[in-house]
Symmetry: C2
């Protein structure tokens, strides 16, 4: 009789190996985000992943590859976070102000502390020489939001002759400002934490004044 959930107790060669691999990427991601690329040593990654340095090098040819893999992973989760938030928060038939605020809040929450957008930006702007991750990364999330805004404009919820612009302005007024505030607070711990709800509410407010 086959064991249920066999891969948890005895992962199998493949799964076990894959587990180490993601452990390494997890560790690397955490360190890259907090320390930056240069300050992160391969030994530190291995130690945090609870893996020998040699194993690490059996999985990844060099440090740079690890960085790129982390980058694309973060990018993927970012995309799905945004996609889900759009689908689940920006539903029609809901109070628009409320929906927009909930959407922005969700992005900010998910995108900070764990990984995602801001950290992603921080990471790529650190690296100048390294082979860039395949382009159009920054473009995609905006495109998804643009699509939804087009629908909102069509049913008269907002007035936006250029939905892409509206999406950009919305993001700038809410998500970007909130993230900026969080980042500032992180840089100077002594100040009290920013009121994300207020920032977003104000941003949505201004957006709605401009776009309907």
């Amino acid at each position: 009789m086959p064991r249920i959930n066999a891969e948890v107790q005895t992962p199998g060669r493949r799964l076990r190996s894959e587990g180490k691999k993601t452990a390494i990427l997890d560790a690397a991601e955490a360190l890259f985000i907090t320390e930056g690329y240069e300050r992160t040593t391969v030994d530190a990654i291995a130690a945090l992943a609870q893996v020998s340095k040699r194993t690490l090098y059996n999985h990844f040819s060099d440090k740079e590859i690890i960085f790129l893999r982390v980058l694309s992973r973060v990018n993927e989760t970012l995309l799905s976070t945004i996609s889900a938030a759009i689908d689940e928060e920006l539903t029609t038939g809901r109070d628009l102000r409320e929906a927009l605020a909930a959407f922005a809040h969700r992005i900010v929450d998910r995108a900070f502390g764990s990984s995602d957008y801001l950290t992603f930006r921080r990471l790529i702007s650190q690296q100048q020489l390294v082979p860039r991750p395949p382009g159009a990364i920054r473009d995609r999330p905006l495109g998804m939001l643009e699509q939804r805004f087009t629908e909102l404009a069509a049913d008269g919820s907002i007035r936006a002759s250029r939905p892409r612009l509206a999406a950009q302005h919305f993001t700038a007024l809410t998500i970007s400002l909130a993230q900026e505030a969080l980042l500032d607070h992180e840089n100077e711990k002594d100040t009290e934490p920013p009121d994300i709800d207020a920032i977003i509410a104000d941003g949505v407010d201004a957006f709605l004044r401009a776009y309907r």
Copy 2:
């Protein structure tokens, strides 16, 4: 008969030394901005400044000190840039839309390519451990803009019960978006350069819809 402009031809000990010092800081600034702190070697700074490494170390105790000095210099020029732009562009009795656009444009121009705001942000976000430059840096520019917006609100040019918020929103809609576009373009050279005028015009447009 005393020589005119003596400090140019024969700088004098003090001035000559000071000249080398700023040459070093200039070189360091350029390299820190393009390469980041870690990737910038002290030898490279000395070479670019056309100064021997030993001279460099006669002026600055270590690399970190150089970084901090660069930071405070950049911060100073940033502040004066903004202050001047406010005074000279955001004058009363000028078409508001035009004034706002000119102001934003000036900041974006000055703040990119040479040094200033964006690069400053990039620099501090690279460094985590290094002793932070004295706080309230990010705060100041906003404060100056807030003050002007208070005046604009007082004379009825804009409707803003909270001028600081208006200043933040204005910045987000114009300057931040423009800088973001420039940064993106730098990261991916293949795309065509962003139309800064258009971005700013659209931002001012949205701002005015929301704030008057």
